[in-house]
Structure formats: C-alpha cells, structure tokens
Amino acid sequence: MRRPTKLKFKPLSLAETARLLGVPRARALKILALVGVGPEALGAGTLRAKGKARKTKTSSRGAKSLNQ
C-alpha cells in the first residue's frame, strides 16, 4: 500500500519561483503575459535580491527617495 508523503513546506510564490530560477523580471512579465497573468501576480520589484535599498540622488530641495 502506498503512503503519501505528508509535506511540511510553504508553497513557493510566483515571485520566489522566478527568483530561484534566475529569470529576470522583464522576461518573467513577458512570458507570463502569454497566459494572461499580469504584473500584479509578480508583485512590485519582488525579483530584486533582498538587501539594502538603492541609494538615490536627492535634489537640493531634499526630494523624497525614488524608493518611497
């Protein structure tokens, strides 16, 4: 008799799948469009490796960072 393997894992998100496969965001968006999956499914900028936010130039008036 077969015994199914009970798994303890968290299903991968689409963004995490693309990141682990090394598929750049632009390419992922292009191929997902083939099956009618929009950019919202990938989230905003989720393919970027986690780390410090990029430094952005600010104007002399102290404009807000582009990351905000």
Partner: protein, 200 residues
C-alpha cells in the same frame, strides 16, 4: 548550491516523445507549489558532479523509469541514465533520510522485472498519460494547504502547452529540453497556479 526545501529533482528522459509528460510534471509540481529542477538548468564542468549537486540541493526527487528501453539506433542500447541517477538519489537518501525519492513508471510490474532491487518500494504508475502523471504526483505528495485537483491541473497543463510554441520561439530554441525553455516553462506554470488556484 544551497538546499531548497521546495525543490524537486526531476529525473526524466529528454526526448521529443516525452514532451507531453515533461509538461505534465512541470504543471503538477508547480500546482502543488514546488520548484521543479532538472539537469537542464545547472551549469558546471562534469555532468555527474552537476547531477550529484542537484540531488543534494533538492528535498525530493522524482525518477521516471518509463522510458528505460532499447533505443532505435545501432548499436541498440538501454538508457541507463535514469536508473543510475535513481541510484545516486537512493545513496544520498541513505545518508540523509530527509531526502525522499519516488519512482514513476508507465507499466505495472515491469520494474519488478527490470530492477528487482526496488521490490517493496511504492511505485507510481502513470500509464504514460498526462492525467496519470498528475494523479500520481498527487498520490505521492500531500501538501499542507489546499490540494490542487487533477481537473485544475489539467486546465493549467492545457494552457501551458498552448503557450509552449511561443515560449520556444521567444527563446530561439528548437527543443523544450534547454535550460532557458525549462525555466520559462516553470515560471509560466507558477503563474498559472496563481491564476487558477488563487495562490500567492
């Protein structure tokens, strides 16, 4: 290569006649929330080292032995790659029991004849069909959350298959069995999971 809990090493033949089942495995594993991995997607010098590294980095492995048969071209030889890679996974699992391996076949009792060392092992007989692969993947794995149904997987499969010519064209490839096409198929299958199963 870091170990990925959700990664499944897919030990399958890379030939055109296996294309439908290749897409079926990618669909079924993606529907559950796994990351399919194959030797197509890794780089390195010696193929054997790449395979060993890949097995070590995956928590699970699926070994499809349905096409271990004599090829058509002289000298006619059986295809040993899949059983050999199964042997590597079994050896790895003996030392690291957290690695689980599964054997898939298309014909019942054939493996008892060709590889009797596996007597007593649970086999997953898919009958050489797409639906059979999905059914048996569901039998092998029980996910902690909502389990996708076979009809849901079939919807995903049909859409993935429909998109595959354009994925090939975008990659400039003639064959499904290339690294880029494989990763693109996996991303599209994961996208179909969020589309049909509401995941993410």
């Amino acid at each position: 290569m870091p170990k990925i809990q959700e990664a499944v090493f897919l030990n399958i033949p890379y030939d055109a006649q296996f294309t439908r089942l290749f897409l079926a495995y990618i669909t079924a594993l993606s529907a559950i929330g796994f990351l399919p991995r194959a030797t197509l997607g890794i780089t390195g010098n010696r193929r054997l080292d790449r395979i060993a590294t890949l097995i070590e980095s995956c928590s699970y492995s699926i070994h499809d032995l349905s096409r271990v048969q004599l090829d058509r071209h002289a000298p006619r030889t059986p295809r040993f790659n899949m059983p050999f890679e199964l042997g590597l996974a079994v050896a790895w699992s003996q030392a690291h029991p957290e690695h689980k391996w599964f054997v898939f076949e298309s014909v019942r009792r054939r493996l008892n004849k060709s590889l009797s060392d596996l007597d007593g092992t649970d086999l997953y007989i898919h009958g050489g069909t797409v639906r059979g692969v999905m059914r048996e993947v569901c039998n092998a794995f029980v996910s902690p959350g909502k389990q996708p149904t076979v009809p849901e997987m079939m919807k995903m499969y049909r859409e993935l298959r429909g998109a595959s010519p354009r994925i090939l064209r975008n990659a400039g490839a003639q064959s499904m069995f290339t690294a880029r096409v494989f990763s693109d198929l996996c991303v599209v299958a994961a996208g179909l999971r969020s589309k049909y199963l509401g995941a993410d």
